[in-house]
């Protein structure tokens, strides 16, 4: 089953289940069925694989993609599935582009050719006059059948060749999309590094600090609060951390990681009321001691009094970003952290 808008109602329910969108009672029923019922377990496996493949190939619709990134990718095991899928599909693309025609098809075509080819001994044994009277129609019929079969086999070969070209074209389009995204990310990163460099030069920082461009520096004149520790969100409902902020302050966060799998990260700030992005960080670097976490500084002027979510994405060596965790908090525009 490939993930399209033609999903059955049951498969849609399974997708919602995987994306954490079902009410708790329905989810608990499916929890049980996913273990007890062989058909449901098999279906769920297939739906999950197709969901992951759709995300990896960029064919997931925007709404499901958003839930996939904010919910499904919270788990290291599920992130591992996405990583595996990326490599697996690349290998499948390569193998399918190089595949030879299916033996069954070639065999069937060959059978048809053998079945309709005239036997030479039938023609040779007839007397010359009879051959002259009766063999030409037979020969013509045999020849036209041969030609038809030849055309059929050729058609199958052309179709197979077309399939191969289509597969190669699809793989190339995917690679082009990935490369284009990498180029955009590199340009953004260069612009941000250039901005930081200019700021550092203006402040006449010592040379050793100029090289530490990935540090989330506090702007001069801004008030730095102590770091607020946030943990990845889970399904369980609880009160989010409330942060009291004041004007011209910068909020320092310490985003705890379930696992530190990336060298670089980026954070996006979204209000809970809608899915917009109100702020995006520069490239961030995790620290490993005393615990795995990503330090983040958010300027208070982007924050109003409401619930927010910080989405943290890991950036791999190819420059691709994968959401690893989300962190919830709410703000209160008065002095101090509650």
């Amino acid at each position: 089953m490939a993930l399209t808008h033609d999903l059955s109602a049951r498969d849609r329910q399974l997708v919602d289940y995987l994306l954490g969108l079902l009410p708790e009672e329905e989810a608990e029923l499916l929890d049980e069925e996913s273990i007890v019922d062989d058909d449901v377990a098999a279906r769920l496996c297939g739906v999950e694989e197709d969901l992951v493949d759709a995300y990896v190939t960029g064919t997931l619709d925007a709404k499901n993609r958003s839930h996939f990134e904010t919910y499904y990718l919270k788990s290291p095991l599920r992130r591992g599935k996405v990583k595996f899928a990326r490599r697996f599909l690349a290998v499948v693309d390569r193998a399918s582009a190089a595949a030879t025609p299916a033996p069954a098809m070639a065999g069937a075509g060959a059978d048809r050719v053998r079945r309709f080819s005239p036997r030479p001994e039938t023609i040779a044994s007839k007397p010359a006059t009879r051959r002259a009277r009766f063999s030409w129609p037979m020969l013509t019929a045999a020849a036209s059948m041969l030609i038809t079969c030849g055309v059929f086999v050729k058609d199958m070969q052309v179709r197979h060749g077309l399939d191969q070209v289509r597969a190669q074209s699809a793989a190339q389009s995917r690679r082009a999309a990935i490369l284009s995204k990498q180029l955009d990310e590199a340009r953004n990163e260069n612009a941000q590094i250039a901005e930081q460099l200019n700021r550092a030069r203006a402040e006449s920082l010592p040379p050793e600090q100029l090289s530490a461009l990935a540090l989330p520096a506090v702007r001069p004149g801004a008030t730095a609060s102590r770091a607020v520790v946030l943990f990845p969100q889970t399904r369980s409902v609880g009160q989010p951390t409330t942060i009291r902020i004041q004007p011209n302050a910068e909020i320092r966060f310490d985003l705890r990681l379930e696992s530190n799998e990336f060298a670089r990260y980026r954070a996006i700030l979204r209000p809970a009321s809608d899915n917009s992005i109100v702020w995006r960080s520069a490239v961030l670097v995790a620290r490993t001691a005393p615990s795995s976490s990503v330090p983040l500084v958010v300027p208070s002027h982007v924050l109003n009094a409401q619930h927010y979510s910080i989405e943290l994405s890991g950036i791999d060596a190819a420059g691709l970003e994968t959401t690893v965790s989300s962190y919830g908090f709410q703000t209160d525009r008065r002095v101090g952290v509650r």
């Binding site: 033609d6 697996f88 770091a227 320092r252 791999d316």
Partner: protein, 203 residues
């Protein structure tokens, strides 16, 4: 006590207990351990969907408890075995949630100067890890039987409509239902994931 420390204190299954567990899971239909592998996969996925960080350990704990019941009682009345696995798994889940709520740690703020960057060594390590995983994937694919490899390639290629059509054609060619084809493909893909993980750990 954290989940991992607690679960590590439990004694592992003896070979005899493990075989008894396999036989109980098979419920009279010999599966050469396939039923156990599949049930373990379902349990790990269940704990993972419930956002438990040590899903593998919790699945093992579930099997440990079932084995203990078999040892003490000789048999388990609940049928099918998968239902009993769910019942035990649910208890294990609730206990794990209660345990983690008791031990949430809150840290103080840290010195901002300790946020030191070390990007370049991580990037190199990541690139070689990726290369290693690709090599392992190629190895694991080559370990598959040819018909399994062909099925996996045919089943997972393309996207959207082409994928559906190709799978229908494959099911027709193999003379099996789409569901049965899906089950085979899932098993092959899961086996590949396990193989790649094991390969990477040994390198």
């Amino acid at each position: 006590m954290a989940t991992q420390e607690l679960l590590r204190e439990e004694p592992r299954l003896t070979q005899f207990a493990f075989h008894r567990l396999l036989a109980w899971l098979d419920d009279g239909v010999e599966s050469s351990g396939e039923t156990y592998i599949e049930m373990r996969r379902r349990l790990v996925a269940y704990f993972d969907r419930r956002n438990r960080p040590f899903a593998d350990d919790l699945a093992d704990e579930t099997f440990n408890r079932i084995s203990k019941t078999l040892d003490q009682s000789g048999s388990i009345a609940v049928k099918p075995p998968a239902r009993y696995c769910y019942v035990v798994a649910r208890f294990v889940l609730l206990e794990d949630i209660r345990r983690s709520r008791r031990f949430i740690q809150v840290d103080e703020a840290h010195d901002p100067l300790s946020f030191g960057p070390r990007p370049f060594e991580h990037v190199d390590d990541q690139a070689s890890a990726q290369e290693q995983r690709l090599e392992c994937l190629d190895r694991c694919l080559n370990k598959l039987k040819p018909d399994q490899r062909d099925l996996a390639i045919e089943y997972y290629r393309d996207a959207k409509r082409e994928r559906i059509e190709r799978r229908r054609a494959l099911a027709d060619r193999l003379r099996i239902t789409m569901n049965a084809l899906g089950v085979r493909a899932c098993r092959i893909r899961n086996a590949l994931e396990i193989c790649v993980d094991a390969c990477c750990k040994t390198r």
